[in-house]
């Protein structure tokens, strides 16, 4: 029996897909798993607050507007982060702020993926005139400084009624961020699709008689989608920080607590020695950003060996 036949008899070694291989590599790193747990717990907290609001459970974070103590009570055993000017618990406000930040960052990511990925794939696949138009659109957007672009969108969209739906608070924020930040992913996908469309599997799909739509959405996009995941695990941090800055500038959620608004309050309070509101918001932002930064880098290393940063 030849060596070849022996292997076949024993059964071929099981192959691993890109995703399985990446996950296996991620699981080996303890720190990365800790970061993943942190990210998941932020999401769970945000989801929990949504559920609590929906079913009207009387839990801490959704009763943030309650007066628990005197105004500006320093941190104590009852109120871990003290109270703000209205005697509201800073801890509850911080927890509630998680919901606002995670919602904004998630919705902004979804909007920019929904715009950027198909546009990039179409531009890269068809080239020619369509490509030129799409490149023109994103070059135009990217020639305006990012912060100015977000501000312009946020200020114009604020309190506007579009298709009978009034844009308020966080809706404006994630629309402004989402509509302006698809350029990076679009450029990335376009470049990658240009490379992929010359490969054999696309030729095979074409020879089977697949239409352009099927090739783009069933063959090309799934094959470059790991880049989208990597890009967004790193970009999520930027979205959270953008939300904080917009809320700080008064363009975000006005009626409910958010981390940016808490920092804005703290600006005046610090001179009176009230530091706890500031520290609570900073800590909340710091831990999610740190976790996302480390996790994003690890994800890139494990899913895309070519892009590896040492």
């Amino acid at each position: 029996m030849s060596e070849h036949q022996q292997i076949i008899k024993k059964g071929l070694p099981k192959g691993r897909s890109l995703w399985q291989d990446g996950l296996r590599r991620l699981r080996r790193r303890k720190l990365v798993m800790v970061c993943f747990a942190v990210i998941v717990s932020y999401f769970l907290l945000a989801g929990f607050i949504y559920l609590a609001e929906l079913f009207d459970w009387q839990v801490g974070p959704i009763r943030w507007h309650e007066e628990v103590s005197k105004s500006y009570e320093p941190p104590s055993r009852e109120n871990i982060f003290g109270t703000d000017i209205f005697g509201q618990s800073v801890l509850r406000k911080t927890l509630y702020g998680t919901k606002i930040s995670m919602t904004v960052a998630l919705c902004a990511s979804l909007i920019s993926i929904a715009i950027g990925v198909p546009l990039g794939a179409i531009a890269g696949y068809f080239r020619g005139f369509v490509d030129e138009i799409i490149v023109w659109i994103y070059s135009t957007l990217s020639s305006i400084p990012y912060i100015l672009l977000i501000l312009a969108f946020a200020i114009v969209l604020r309190d506007k009624t579009i298709f009978g739906y009034k844009l308020t608070g966080i809706t404006t924020v994630y629309l402004a961020i989402g509509l302006t930040s698809w350029v990076g992913i679009c450029r990335l996908i376009r470049g990658e699709v240009i490379k992929h469309k010359e490969r054999e599997y696309i030729l095979a799909a074409k020879s089977y008689g697949c239409g352009s739509q099927r090739i783009i959405f069933r063959h090309l996009i799934p094959n470059v989608f790991h880049l989208v995941i990597i890009d967004f695990s790193l970009r999520f941090v930027a979205f959270i920080h953008a939300e904080v800055i917009l809320s700080f500038l008064g363009l975000g959620e006005a009626e409910r607590p958010s981390w940016g608004a808490m920092i804005n309050d703290a600006r005046i309070e610090l001179s009176r020695g009230v530091w706890w509101q500031m520290v609570a918001a900073t800590a909340a932002i710091f831990f999610i950003s740190l976790a996302l930064n480390i996790f994003g880098d690890a994800l890139r290393d494990s899913l895309d060996p070519k892009l590896r940063i040492q």
């Binding site: 305006i144 400084p145 312009a152 506007k160 700080f248 500038l249 008064g250």
Partner: protein, 312 residues
Amino acid sequence: MTTYIIRRLLYTIPIVFGVLLLTFVLFTLVGGDISIEIAGKNATAETIEEIREEYGLNKPLFLSWDSQFINHFKNALTFDFGRARDREPVIDKIKRGVGPSLALTVPMFLGIMIISVSLSLVVAFVRGSVWDILAVVICIIGMSIPYLSFILFGQYFLAYKWGLFPVFFSPDLSTAQYVTLPVLIGIVTGLGSNLRFYRTVMLDEMRSDYVRTAFAKGLTTRRVLFKHVLKNAMIPIITRVVLAIPFLFLGSLLLERFFGIPGLGYLMIEAIGSRDYFVINAMTYISAILFVVFNVITDICYAWVDPRVSFE
């Protein structure tokens, strides 16, 4: 070379057109008629009509030589942005703000660039050691702390508590006095991401054969790092540096807000507060023009530092 530059400049026309189209859609079509808002609560119909006349809001949107669409382009190309909500010409406001903004951002930019490029060379040289890991950890931690917190704590401790610097801008202070603390804070916040970026660039270079050859020749470490590696790492550095220059003009929104420096960032914050579309429109257009111009300059710089780049 000349033909290359001319062709490159021609490419900018559609971009400028696109920016103007975008600002028109945003501020005129979506933003809508804000004359009632400008006039205030107790305005008469005549006042509102006068304001409409002044800003050209009573003209047709399209399909006329005197339409708002054509006027938007005409005004932008002649740099005539009309008057802001407080009746002062927008262009005067911008001219007044450029000075303080540049006084803040230029030293900040130079500081970040020089420190992070030279530190990245050192860190890339000691790659894999404890110092390298420490530097990366500090960078990631620095990137994760929100910008606002850096500013607030810096202002609170360094200026308010310990009195090392003035807390706020006031007209009788010299530029150096009011700018030092914001610049320091800006450098500290910018170091994290920049150092990490340049470190990656330098590491790519460090693995090249020419570095080994240079060491084998017996050149000193300093000479290899600052002469050979730095020169070869020039392309990514130039891209990052030249394209950052137009942003200097914008000033620093948050730093100016916290320290009350009357630059362009402060101007924008005021414009956001009063929903002054005219100021934001002018700023968007001017910064986009600067960005486009510096993009051309970057391309020319590539050709200048790297003879392999052709002009085709």
